[in-house]
């Protein structure tokens, strides 16, 4: 992968988020994207007139029943006639959009890129219909007809993990407790809560072994990030000298078979995310990460279901296979721990408007590296590096991106 022209570098200039909530009745996707974009422009100190390109991030054409929505987001913020491209990778769409900004800027196709993402998935359709729409992201000929229910797939993965490694329900309940708690210090979060492992364990069983509080919710919301080269930033970014400099130093992407049933054994089998391991290896190599537990100060990890976060730790190289539950019990991933994860609240606490989620992870890492996060969720900076893990399907699409602070 020696494709990178080291003379070009990509910097993260600013970010914005329009509140994640169960149902944003105050507007629709285009309104939320506008809000996220305005905040990002203000944060970056740049004018939209100077930005050369945009990337659209949303997952479902069913939820908003607006095809080619990117054209609307793009024209609403006055980007026409400049170029736009949409990327899509299920739950990994936001991570792919960030990766796309990196690729376009590194290639020289543009020197600046605004990335915006949103999803309209709250309560404007009944939750049954919403579940059916999401189920369409699994194989509609072979899986949806017999299962059609994402939690049932993920529960099978977790049963296999528990069977193979002895992972306990209480260990992944801890993920839910941590992420709901972290969200309490994020005013834009959908689901902040101070709960205990017992609360999670006693919440309604949806699909064994996952209880109600192990799951993320469907959220409305939007997020935006602005990227550029140093040369462009020096010319167009009013805050370039004033704010800490944040560089994007790594990106990786991996995939796996759409259907878990087709994946090879023993690895990844039905316990692990092979695409995530590949994405992490690529991103770590680019950024020079050797020991992720030491080389990152914070990491946003995909936690659509609490157990997914544990398994992700193993494929992101934070620990060996089967050891994530024990590290979770030791508090390694709590605020104040060795590697705080999902300081934003993650999908479980912050929310999961799919197309916005991966971008919001990037906004959180940007805030953390600039030391702008709420004091109660601000991490200590040592490595001055943060990572994010964006994930779709049952690990069908995985993207890992890395930001670093340059002082």
């Amino acid at each position: 992968m020696e494709v990178l022209n080291k003379k070009r570098r990509v910097f993260v200039l600013g970010g914005g988020i329009s509140k994640f909530a169960a149902e944003r009745v105050d507007g629709n996707m285009r309104d939320w994207v506008n809000e996220a974009v305005l905040e990002a422009l203000e944060d970056a100190g740049v004018d939209i007139q100077d930005i050369e390109h945009s990337t659209t991030s949303y997952f479902s054409d069913h939820f908003d029943k607006q095809l080619k929505a990117g054209a609307i987001f793009h024209d609403n913020i006055g980007m026409c006639p400049k170029p736009n491209v949409r990327v899509e990778g299920g739950g990994a769409t936001g991570g792919l959009a960030i990766r796309n900004a990196y690729a376009y800027i590194m290639s020289g196709l543009c020197d600046s890129m605004i990335v915006f993402g949103a999803e309209n998935m709250g309560r404007h359709v009944p939750s049954d219909v919403a579940q059916q729409f999401i189920a369409l992201a699994s194989d509609t000929d072979w899986e949806v007809q017999v299962a059609g229910f994402y939690i049932a797939y993920y529960a099978m993965m977790m049963v296999a993990h528990m069977e193979k490694y002895g992972t306990k329900e209480e260990q992944f309940a801890l993920v839910s407790v941590k992420n709901h708690r972290n969200a309490m210090y994020n005013p834009k979060a959908h689901y902040p809560m101070d709960i205990t492992v017992e609360d999670v364990m006693n919440s309604r069983m949806i699909t064994y072994p996952y209880k109600l509080l192990d799951n993320c919710l469907l959220s409305d919301g939007a997020a935006c990030l602005i990227f550029a080269t140093e040369e462009w930033a020096k010319k167009h970014c009013r805050t370039w000298e004033r704010k800490p400099t944040i560089e994007m130093t790594g990106t990786g992407c991996g995939t796996d078979f759409m259907r878990m049933a087709d994946r090879p054994h023993p690895y990844p089998g039905i316990t692990h995310f092979r695409g995530k391991r590949m994405a992490a290896e690529q991103a770590y190599k680019m950024a020079g990460v050797k020991n992720p537990l030491e080389d990152f100060d914070c990491f946003e990890v995909h936690d659509a279901y609490s157990g997914v976060e544990l398994v992700s730790y193993e494929d992101l190289g934070f620990c060996k296979e089967g050891e994530s539950g024990k590290l979770m019990e030791k508090g390694v991933f709590d605020l104040g721990g060795e590697l705080p994860t999902n300081t934003s609240g993650g999908l479980i606490g912050f929310g999961h408007p799919v197309g916005a989620t991966g971008i919001a992870q990037g906004v959180e890492i940007l805030r953390q590296l600039r030391q702008e996060a709420h004091p109660k969720r601000q991490v200590e900076l040592n490595a001055k590096r943060g990572g994010m893990d964006s994930h779709g399907g049952t690990g069908t699409f995985c993207v890992v991106n890395i930001f670093e602070r340059r002082d």
């Binding site: 059916q132 299962a147 699909t207 087709d262």
Partner: protein, 175 residues
């Protein structure tokens, strides 16, 4: 008013600022908080082609379980695919005995209404005898949930009543 002219009108209301904490100087969108909600109904029916693996479903109706084998690398895919994804060779049909071992499962106590199944509903991944990869389907007639164990032998059962999709011509049961 005039709004009664709108046949699909659901409501008109004033929305609150969802981010007052960001707007200490006042709501910048205060002139845009009046919101209308309408009903929008769309219905579609597809004439769906089940692709080159249609034979699988045709044979299910004959109470036979077929999959595909790669003539080059020998891999037998649990779920048939016309092209071997390992070596890009066109596969050939192979009948399996329809028995296997439970690789993993999940037990749902709540399912979306579109699924039309009884709860608790058990989704199973099964290693079919004679196949190298797994097959996904429901496990029925399992008795008590506590009796479902990874590693237990299961077999394909075939429908005798009308079904709403060819995939539902089969399911798994304890063997």
């Amino acid at each position: 008013m005039g709004t009664e002219l709108i046949s699909n009108l659901l409501e008109i209301f004033t929305a609150e600022d969802p981010m007052p904490f960001d707007h200490p100087e006042g709501d910048p969108w205060k002139d845009f908080r009046q919101i209308m909600r309408i009903e929008w109904k769309m219905e579609f029916t597809y004439r769906h082609i089940l692709g080159k693996y249609s034979k699988f479903f045709i044979e299910l109706a004959n109470k036979r379980f077929f999959t595909t084998e790669c003539p080059k690398c020998g891999k037998v895919w649990g779920i048939p695919r016309p092209l071997c994804a390992d070596c890009l060779t066109i596969t050939r049909w192979k009948e399996l005995p329809g028995t296997g071992v439970l690789s993993s499962f999940s037990v749902s106590y709540f399912v979306p209404a579109f699924m039309k199944v009884e709860t608790p509903y058990v989704l199973a991944l099964v290693k079919m005898d004679g196949a190298d990869t797994l097959f996904t389907h429901q496990l029925r007639n399992f008795g008590r949930v506590e009796d479902i164990k990874v590693g237990m032998p299961v077999k394909v059962a075939y429908a005798t009543e009308p079904v709403s999709h060819p995939m539902l011509l089969m399911w798994f049961e304890p063997a």
